[in-house]
Amino acid sequence: MLGVVRALGIRALDWLSTLGRATILWFNAMAGLPRWKDISLVIKQIYNVGFLSLVIIVLSAFSIGAVLALQFHTQLARFGAQEAVGVGLALVLLRELGPVVTALLFAGRAGSALTAEIGLMKTTEQLSSMEMMGVDPLRRIVAPRIWAGLLSVPLLTAIFNMVAIYGGVVVAIDWLGADPGGFWSGMQDGVELWEDLGKGMVKSVVFAALVTWVAVFQGYDCPPTAEGMSMATTRTVVISSVLILATDFLLTLVMYGDF
């Protein structure tokens, strides 16, 4: 009986200390303003996590927009309300699917790569040798990756939304023959700049912070073995996906909840 209590206590303390180390890592990396001579490091990372994620973002966005338009159209056509396809599509994308799916794809495409990269640097003792040379690996390796994630994810979300709406246009207007006038004017009537677009962008910034934080911490904290690295990469994707979905519910509750 006492053993169970002790085991639970050890697990809880382990978990707390992990959270503590992650928080310390975040503050040490982000302490102080970004130094302008580090900007080229950030640009390199935006290329890695942002530009190289474009292909998967654009392809998924187009398919998701097309499938949403198809589903909305077939259901709404039964009530003769095809004009509502545009506004439904835009609201679902801007408020929920855009930020969430982009963040999930980002966690899978870029988050796992960040963890593997930093984990390998740690395993091959590149991080310790940097420290020996008097270079702070947190500011040189971790901080540029966090900044790059914070900048890239909102931009990717905007691109995702645009491409997905275009995918919806292709299906609803060009293929199923919905009326373009009703489609666009319904959308412009129902969508508000801050309420829908702005709040969706706020969500995507929060998700970006979560995913990059989990990814760099898992890489930085992984046991320096091949097995430890593979586990850390898996954990990055699992933890950040769950965090994204749970946080999305909380954010939606706070932003749109009517209570």
Binding site: Y47, F51, L155, M162, I165, Q188, V191, L193, D196, L197
Partner: protein
């Protein structure tokens, strides 16, 4: 040379993101800059507003001329006190303008429809529209229909 390709790609990526944001703001959310024109407010009392929301349209002859800015209740009289923001300067509505709450389509959103009267005097900022007709409530209609059937 390698760094230059990276820089150009990142530049293109950021540009694409900004274009996407502008597209979403202009084409999707449809901001228009003359929407911030001057408005003045008039109030109207209704016996039942049945689902009218703030920011609902105020229209005349089907054209949007304003928005509902606030909805309060007057407990003493049991009436809804609705404030309407009308576009333009005071002086474009006659004092005997009538207001009616209608529905877009069968299941659509409620909106306020204004019909101008023939008076020469006009409503100023903060004046009240006295000639109002509340929303038709389906339950009341059915109730009346059933009582009439029994006669």
């Amino acid at each position: 040379m390698r760094m230059r390709t990276v820089e150009i790609s990142v530049g293109a990526f950021v540009l694409a993101g900004i274009i996407a944001l502008i597209f979403l703001a202009v084409q999707v959310s449809g901001i228009n800059f003359d929407d911030t024109g001057k408005t003045y407010s008039v109030t109207a009392r209704f016996d039942d507003i049945a689902g009218l929301r703030t920011r609902a349209k105020v229209s005349m002859a089907g054209v949007t001329i304003g928005r509902v800015s606030s909805i309060d209740v007057d407990m003493a009289w049991g009436e809804a006190l609705v404030t309407l923001d009308i576009l333009g300067e005071p002086g474009n509505l006659t004092t005997d303008t009538s207001a009616q709450i209608l529905t877009e389509g069968i299941l659509g959103a409620r909106y306020v429809s204004l019909v101008p009267g023939g008076d020469e005097e006009t409503l100023g900022d903060g004046d009240e529209i006295t000639d109002t007709q509340g929303a038709l409530v389906l339950e009341n209609l059915i109730g009346e229909f059933v009582t009439n059937l029994g006669k």
